[in-house]
Structure formats: C-alpha cells, structure tokens
Amino acid sequence: MIEFGVLFAQGGIDAFTPLQAISENGMAALAVGLAALGAGYAERGIGSAAIGAIAEDESLFGTGLIMTVLPETLVILALVVVFLVG
C-alpha cells in the first residue's frame, strides 16, 4: 500500500483516490462474505452426510447438528476483522 502511495505521489497523482473505490470497512465486509461462502461450502458436504446419518439413526441428530454448524466458526473469526478495522 505504501509503495503504491509513493509511486502515485511520484507521478503527481493523489495517491489514494483510485484505491478508495472500496473502503477499509468495505474490505472487511468482503472478508466476512468470503468466509461465509467458505463456511457454506464446507457445510454442504457435512450437512448432507449428517442428514444421511440422521435418516438412519435419529439419535444422531445432536451430533449431526453440531458437526454441521462447526464451519460457522469461520464466519465468527472473520467478524473479528470487522472489529479490528472498524
């Protein structure tokens, strides 16, 4: 970021204008979104396996549920970024 700034400054252009198309907060939001996407993809596989197991044995409902939402932690960790930035 700083090198870019220097470069732009040398070229006589206001350094941060072009990069401000997306603000820091926006970037943080994007991070959360991507993390949620990853979590969703992970849950796809786990969820279908969990449903398969529950269909066979209903007592597995609790375990299946916990396993399915485990990737949700990814999103929570990504939320940390929002607080760091914001």
Binding site: G45, S48, A49, A50, G52, E56
Partner: protein
C-alpha cells in the same frame, strides 16, 4: 435397457453416511454364534427382532421354516439395494447400478431355469430378487412367458438379448442350459468394467481394479472346480474376459494341475493377499476353504479401499459385499441346520471377517 444417466454431481457424503450406518448394523460374529445354535424356527424369530423384522412379519403368514428365512433374506437384500439406487445421483448411480446388474443376471437365470424345469409363473416370481435394473413389471412379464424362446425375444432390447440369441442355437442342440447361463454371466461380467477405467479419479481406478480382481477370482474358482471335478470340459469356454491375471490360453494349460495353478497365483500380483488361501488349498486340499479365503480377501480389500477413499464408490461397494455375505451366511446356517449338519460343518461354510 441402458443405465439412466442422472444429472448432477454425485452425492457421496449422503450415501456414504447412510451406508456406513447400515454396515455397522450387520450381524457380527456374536450374532452368528447365537444363530448357529438355533433351529430354523428360532432363527426366523431371532431375525424378527433385527433388521429383518418387516420382511419376516410380512411373509410369516405365507411361509414357514427355512423358506420364510430365505424369502425374507432376499426381500431385505432387494430393499437395501434398491435404496442404494434411489439415493445415489450422477456418477455414483452409474457405478452402483453397474454392480447391481448382478441381480438382473440372477433373475434372468432364474426365469430360464424356472421355465426349463416347468415351474409356473408364480413360483418363478417368488425367487426373483428385485434389486437390479429391470423393474418389477418387466420381470413379471418375463416370468409369465411360457418358453425360453419367448424370454430371449423379450430380452431382445436389453444387453442380454444378443448373447442369449447367439447361445440359443447351442442350447437347442445340446438341450442343457449351460450355454444360456454362461452367456448371461459373461454379459454381466463384461459389462462390469467398460468405461470405468477411463476416469482420472484414483478411487474409480481402484474400483475398476477391484472388479478385475473379482473377475480373476471367478476365473480361478472356475478352473479349480473344473480341475477338481475331472470332467472333460474345455475351461476356455468358461473363461470370463476382463481380468488381468489370465489369458484364455493360460487357463487351459493350468487347469491340468492344481499345484501349477497355485504356483501361478503365488507369483502373480495377488500372491501376497492370497497366500493364506493358497496355503489352505495346499494343506487341506479343500476347495471350500480356498473359495472362502478368496471371499475374505475380496471383503478385506473392499474394506481397506473404503477407509482410504471415504468419499467414493468404495464404501458402497464394501457394504454391498458385506450385506451379500451376511445373507449367504444366514442362509447357510438355516439350510445347514435343516439338513442336520453339525455346528462345525456349518461354521466351515460361513465367511466371517
């Protein structure tokens, strides 16, 4: 009748999870030990408290004793394997259906044998296992035909049509069913592998390898039986293409002596896996022991694959094999008890991992 191409990706996670649960519910050694001490009536009562409850209850009014056990087993097997086909999507479906065509072959053979022996449609239909690709209606139509020619005609549009038509000349000439049955078996085994090899996926390659091993073992078994019976049969006629252990010409040469055959297998890629089986063959000189050791080797291999590739066809395959084994074991116990065999003799018939 070709395999229906389902759209979408394979749902390995779902099918594997269900299959593993069912696999865990199969009878274990403890159950077999209990069953070994029971008579046919007790066995069916025991089955009523397990997985087979629905079937035993549904058929209990119509059959009794060993027949009840046998029909319940078949029906339960069909139910489970139909489930597999119902769940699976995409490529997984194709791979499962390919293996379950075994039951189509079985059903076609049942029809042919039934008609040959003059059984009526109802009796034939009782022995069907509705687990393959042919649906119930089609099979019932097959059973209702009165002659073998009509059966062959009905099967015309299926994969069995052409081979059966080719074999029917031999059948008419000799009057025995062997050519027809061979044609059915061979069609099944030859359709088993086609197309699987072409994939990049390691798990599918191993699946193909497994199928080849099964064909090889089938060939070994056939040769041994021919060699053992001492009958004047050309082993090449029974040779199934698709394995990588033998060529048809090897087979003819090896069938002469069991020792030579054993040495040949020991030097092959299966040598390590089968060394126990071969020792058994050489020591006890018993075919049953050897054949069971082959079965155990296949089961163990399938199990190993299913642990190495959990998200693939392999767990499903290992379940199918284990379930078939269970059904055969229970049947062996029930039949053995009925025939008054001793516990040891029946135990020799069981294949338990």
């Amino acid at each position: 009748m070709s395999i229906k191409e389902t759209e979408g990706t394979s749902n390995y996670e779902y099918v594997t999870a269900r299959v593993r649960t069912r696999r865990a519910k199969l009878f274990d050694e403890e159950d077999y030990r209990k069953l070994l001490r029971m008579g046919p009536g007790e066995i069916s009562r025991y089955m009523e408290e397990t997985e087979y409850e629905t079937e035993v209850n549904a058929l209990g009014a119509r059959y009794s004793g060993v027949d009840l056990i046998e029909y319940s087993l078949n029906r339960n097997l069909a139910k489970h394997f139909e489930d597999l086909l119902r769940w699976a999507d995409g490529r997984l479906y194709t791979l499962v259906a390919r293996y379950l065509r075994k039951f189509d072959a079985w059903n076609v053979k049942t029809v042919i044998r039934g008609i040959y022996s003059g059984a009526d449609a109802e009796t034939i239909a009782e022995d069907f296992i509705y687990a393959g690709e042919f649906d119930r209606q089609f099979l019932d139509r097959l059973a209702e035909t009165g002659s073998i020619e009509e059966v062959i005609e009905l099967l015309d549009r299926t994969r069995y049509g052409e081979p059966l038509a080719d074999a029917s000349a031999d059948y008419e000439e000799s009057g025995v069913l062997v050519p027809l049955e061979n044609a059915v078996d061979r069609t099944y085994y030859e359709g088993l592998i086609g197309g699987v090899d072409a994939t990049e996926n390691r798990a599918n390659q191993l699946y193909a390898e497994f199928l080849r091993a099964e064909i090889d073992f089938r060939n070994v078994r056939n040769v041994l039986r021919i060699a053992r019976s001492g009958a004047d049969i050309d082993p090449e006629e029974y040779f199934i293409e698709g394995g990588d252990l033998f060529r048809a010409s090897d087979l003819a040469q090896l069938s002469g002596s069991i020792d030579e055959l054993a040495a040949f297998i020991r030097d092959s890629t299966y040598g390590d896996d089968l060394s126990d089986a071969l020792d058994e063959l050489e020591r006890a000189d018993s075919l049953i022991g050897f054949e069971h050791a082959l079965d155990v080797a296949l089961l163990e291999y399938a199990d190993r694959l299913s642990h190495v590739f959990p998200l693939s066809i392999c767990p499903v395959l290992s379940y199918i094999l284990a379930k078939e084994r269970e059904v055969e074991n229970i049947r062996a116990i029930a039949r053995g008890r009925e025939a008054g065999l001793s516990q040891d003799e029946i135990e020799n018939e069981l294949v338990v991992l």
